[in-house]
């Protein structure tokens, strides 16, 4: 039986992975905000203490946070205010066409693409991590590949 990590230790253990995952979902500029919101918000949930697979729970938190990230203008305004008040963070350059290609995918499709092509997870593992069905993962993956194929074809 392993030693249970504190919340801070658990977060630090997965922080980089979560931030990379969030970058795939919302881009580098908003990734840190999404991770912050997700982790702090979801750890406030009474369910947190009952969670067994905390890594998966954190991934889902980031996933759902990213899903709702663009939904309300209030959220956006709040985010911009926080960004304005924060120390400037230098974000590495990423080609606009990359961001443009990803922006044409849904958040669900981005999540599946990132976990497939970056983390090398197969559909069952992705399904377990995100808490969705295996079939849903395969559908998102197929649609994402099809969409990206169109985009990449258009570029060439």
């Amino acid at each position: 039986m392993g030693v249970e990590l504190s919340d801070g230790e658990l977060y630090r253990k997965h922080a980089d992975d979560l931030t990379r995952f969030a970058t795939g979902l919302v881009g580098p500029a908003d990734a840190a905000d999404v991770v912050s919101e997700a982790v702090l918000g979801w750890l406030a949930s009474p369910r947190w203490a009952l969670v067994r697979d905390k890594r998966a729970y954190l991934y889902r938190a980031v996933y759902y946070e990213a899903t709702s990230f663009h939904r309300t203008s209030n959220r956006r305004r709040s985010r911009e205010e926080r960004t304005a008040s924060r120390d400037r963070v230098d974000v590495p350059d990423v080609r606009p066409e990359v961001l443009a290609a990803v922006s044409r995918l849904s958040v669900q499709q981005r999540a599946v693409i990132v976990l497939t092509y970056w983390d090398d997870l197969d559909p069952p593992a992705i399904a377990a991590l995100l808490g969705i069905s295996d079939g849903a993962v395969r559908r998102h993956l197929a649609r994402a590949r099809s969409r990206l194929k169109e985009i990449l074809d258009a570029d060439t």
Partner: protein, 464 residues
């Protein structure tokens, strides 16, 4: 058209480029605290910096302000030797809350008379001891070390002005009795946190809005920010604080507008804690708190507002009377201040024998007189601000001049009041009848749009 393998390769490359642009993971110091089960999401927004100033009229007020501010420096809390959150219960008669701090301060004598002397700067280290009674009697002892200088220019300028390098008197001591109760001046040094909320969102709100229930923190004219209120509570002296309060206070800090969490930081003594910062005219003010207990480990770069009236205390040790008589523009800023040990409760016998402890003051009433907009500054000085029973203070409005020192008293204006609405506030002790007589006299001047008298145990009455 890409084949499936080629497509996978290109998608992999695209995803890799995107993921490799990931920023550094955010630091979330909140997670290092012990009770994260009910943390609400962090929200904060930028807020313009305001300045805290106290305008004090009269010698008694000035002395009180000196001690108020000295009292802001001296503190409570704990060092690396104390891991448990200090709990300071309410004090009983005959008990004093004793706390001790070490501080590094910068003294800058900007001018002497009308002559600018910007190079006259010195660094001093001081040990500050504070004793506070439950009746708001507070005594302070400051033991300072010889001044040191960042440059030869600073040293030469200091010596040219014949400022002291070795502090005198040393220690500098003073006591004040500021009274208490609903009609006392909002200058109690001893803050009672027993009724403060311990839910961090609620606590952040009362700190931000100035509705803490602690008069010195809520005084409308002080213009303290939420960060500054939190700083003062951390610094103390604070009674009625429970471990849950300190934990909540440090949790509330990142929810206060303009405050940001800095993650793990180390104090100058090497103690590790969680840092919080806000912008100030000094650059950045920082609080480092113990992540386990929420108590203060170190405060850095306190804005001069915290220490404005230290000029009358600590600086006296370095500025001879001949210079002070010419008028010196002295600013003292705190580079860092560390609590030494936890505050302890001691008996009266533990106070140094050379301290003259003032009697307890009981205020019976306060009077707030709102100056009419047509009144000029020249008319106001004609009013005697203080008498045997009532101590007067001038307050100008919040949109006061943005100088570095105290807010400009309305009595210095020669034309229409620049900071209207201005108020005169009197704090009266002794018989309530004295307050009634003064209120009547104020009303008779015709200078005020309202005169409100509040008696200690009687609902306020207003005379139009």
């Amino acid at each position: 058209m890409p084949t499936p393998d080629v497509l996978d390769t290109r998608i992999r490359s695209l995803v890799a480029e995107l993921i490799e642009s990931a920023p550094q993971a955010p630091v979330l110091p909140e997670l290092d605290w012990t009770d994260t089960e009910h943390l609400p999401a962090v929200t904060r927004s930028p807020r313009p910096r305001r300045r805290a100033r106290f305008v004090v009229a009269g010698f008694a007020g000035a002395v009180a302000a000196v001690l108020l501010v000295v009292g802001l420096i001296p503190v409570v809390a704990q060092t690396q030797h104390h891991q448990a959150a200090p709990t300071a219960p309410a004090l009983a008669d005959g008990q004093w809350l004793y706390s001790e701090q070490q501080a590094s301060l910068n003294i800058q004598v900007d001018s002497v008379g009308n002559t600018p002397t910007p190079a006259a700067q010195a660094l001093v280290q001081a040990t500050i001891k504070t004793w506070a009674s439950p009746f708001n009697q507070v005594c302070v002892s400051i033991t300072a070390r010889p001044a040191t200088f960042a440059s030869a220019t600073n040293r030469n300028a200091w010596h040219t002005l014949r400022l002291f390098t070795t502090p005198s008197p040393n220690p500098w001591t003073a006591c004040v009795s500021s009274g208490g109760g609903p009609t006392a001046p909002p200058e109690e040094l001893l803050m009672n946190a027993s009724r403060m909320p311990t839910e961090r969102s609620a606590l952040a709100q009362v700190l931000s809005k100035g509705t803490t229930g602690i008069p010195v923190l809520d005084a409308p004219n002080s213009e303290l920010t939420g960060y500054e209120r939190a700083s003062l509570l951390l610094i103390g002296p604070t009674i009625g604080n429970r471990p849950a309060f300190f934990a909540a206070l440090s949790h509330a800090l990142p929810l206060i507008p303009g405050v940001r969490a800095l993650g793990r930081m180390t104090s100058h003594t090497g103690t590790s804690g969680i840092g919080f910062a806000t912008n100030s005219p000094l650059g950045r003010s920082i609080l480092i708190v113990n992540p386990k207990t929420g108590t203060l480990l170190e405060a850095q770069n306190l804005y001069p507002a915290f220490i404005l009236d230290l000029n009358d205390g600590l600086a006296d040790q370095y500025i001879p009377e001949t210079i002070a008589a010419k008028g010196d523009g002295t600013r003292i800023t705190v580079q860092w201040i560390d609590p030494l040990g936890s505050p302890t409760i001691v008996g009266s016998h533990a106070l140094p024998g050379d301290l003259t402890i003032p009697p307890v003051v009981t205020y019976s009433a306060s009077i707030v007189a709102l100056v009419k907009p047509t009144v000029t500054g020249n008319q106001v000085p004609d009013l005697k601000l203080s008498n045997a029973s009532c101590r007067g203070r001038e307050y100008s409005a919040s949109a006061r001049s943005q100088d570095q020192g105290q807010a400009t008293p309305i009595t210095t204006y020669n034309g229409t009041l620049a900071n209207f609405p201005a108020t005169l506030t009197y704090y009266c002790h002794g018989s309530p009848a004295h307050a009634a007589v003064l209120a009547k006299a104020l009303k008779a001047t015709g200078l005020f749009s309202s005169v409100v008298v509040t008696y200690a145990n009687i609902p306020p009455t207003t005379s139009p």
